[in-house]
């Protein structure tokens, strides 16, 4: 939702919107009381719709993470079901490029909206932890020394939290192929590109094709 008091100019505009809103209600009420009530309901609905939908057009403020230590290259990997995919492992190895590299894998604890609002996150965190443990094991077997943590249920929030604490040099987001990826549908990769001034690599992991091989 867009805050109508975001800036002085926005607040001044809101003053005029308020005047227009109440002027219409008062005029309608003077004609007929019930017409006033009807105008009030319709206008309130329009205002609420506008407040919630105007925010969608806004481009978020782009943020750059704080610098990491000079002698170390840091890679933040965000993945969920594809966290153990071979494409992701090879991409991490390629990005590391023989440098002293520290890798943090974040696995968002994806949850249903109902469970999220009920703060029932135990199962989601448990499932994410299992996926993370398996993938860390396979990464270590491939020679990648990675750390891991469970992230927020919202992938973009999980990225943001990890950027604050880990201060990565680059970000890798791993998803299913287009058409099968819920994250791509939700615009997680595009959202991350919009929000962060950081090198971002999108890795597509096709688990079905990998299983066939």
């Amino acid at each position: 939702m867009r805050n109508p008091f975001r800036s002085e100019a926005d607040a001044f505009r809101f003053v005029w919107v308020t005047i227009g809103y109440f002027a219409l209600i008062v005029v309608a009420s003077l004609i007929n009381e019930w017409l006033g009530v009807a105008v009030f309901i319709v206008l309130t609905g329009v205002v609420i719709w506008w407040l919630f939908h105007s925010a969608e057009r806004e481009t978020p403020v782009k943020q750059a993470p704080a610098a990491s230590p000079a002698d170390e290259h840091r890679i933040l990997v965000v993945a969920n079901e594809t966290v153990g995919g071979p494409e992701l492992r090879s991409e991490i190895q390629e990005r590391a490029g023989g440098r002293r590299t520290r890798v943090l894998v974040v696995c968002p604890a994806l949850n249903s909206p109902l469970r999220h609002w009920a703060s029932d996150e135990d199962d989601a965190r448990h499932a994410a932890q299992e996926r993370l443990d398996r993938s860390l094991e396979s990464m270590r077997a491939a020679g990648i020394d990675a750390e891991g943590q469970i992230g927020d249920g919202d992938p973009l929030q999980a990225i943001e939290d990890a950027i604050r604490t880990f201060r990565p040099d680059e970000l890798i987001i791993s998803t299913h192929p287009p058409g099968r990826s819920h994250w791509l549908e939700r615009g997680v990769v595009d959202g991350a590109r919009e929000r962060y001034e950081i090198r971002l690599t999108h890795v597509v992991v096709d688990l079905d094709a990998d299983a066939d091989h």
Partner: protein
């Protein structure tokens, strides 16, 4: 789970967390305005409750022999809306580096704010009823008085902004003081429009 051992690397206070993508001072103003909306909301609830109960008894609002000074309040509304425009002029001038416009806008806003308060005090004197007379009188003074107190606070902020402007503060790059004060002043204006329509007109 292996946690990232960052705590050992960083000394001093942690970096400011901007995850809401709003600066802390603006966020503070949002929270303040949210609390104000709740405060006004409680006063409006009392007013509407009183109105519904008393309207049911005699079908007339306000209950006789009271009447609301609609014309004086309408002129006061005009004064306050004009002050919002002058506040916007001051803020826009500050952003453009027009110091004369910024000062003139602030002085005009302060003058209009004082005129509003002065007119309201005169209105109170000539109303012919007092806070202890009936529930209508109590809620009327409660709502308009609460708003008047906010205008007084807004005027104090505006005076500080004006003094700072005349002492050479604020520039196109640094005008946060005017921005925040302006948001508050417009909020006071919006609340008056709600009070005017609900208490005086409807």
């Amino acid at each position: 789970m292996t946690s990232a051992a960052e705590a050992h690397e960083h000394h001093g206070p942690p970096p400011i967390h901007y995850s809401s993508r709003v600066s802390p001072s603006v966020l503070g103003m949002y929270l303040f305005i949210a609390s104000e909306i709740m405060l006004f909301g409680s006063f409006f609830t009392v007013y509407f409750f009183d109105r519904v109960v008393n309207n049911g008894v005699n079908g007339v609002w306000p209950p006789p022999p009271y009447h609301r000074p609609v014309y004086v309040a309408a002129i006061n509304t005009l004064i306050l809306v004009t002050s919002s425009a002058s506040m916007h002029w001051a803020d826009t001038s500050a952003k453009k580096g027009n110091r004369a416009g910024m000062k003139a806008g602030l002085v005009l806003t302060v003058c209009l704010g004082f005129t509003f308060l002065f007119t309201q005090v005169i209105e109170y004197h000539r109303l012919g009823f007092n806070t202890s007379d009936t529930s209508f009188a109590a809620t009327f003074f409660g709502l308009t008085g609460l708003h008047g107190a906010h205008v007084f606070v807004g005027l104090t902020i505006l005076l500080c902004m004006t003094i700072r402007a005349f002492r050479g503060h604020f520039s196109p790059e640094h005008h946060h003081g005017i921005e925040i004060g302006g948001i508050y002043w417009h909020f006071v204006d919006v609340m008056w429009i709600v009070v005017f329509v609900t208490v005086y007109l409807l």
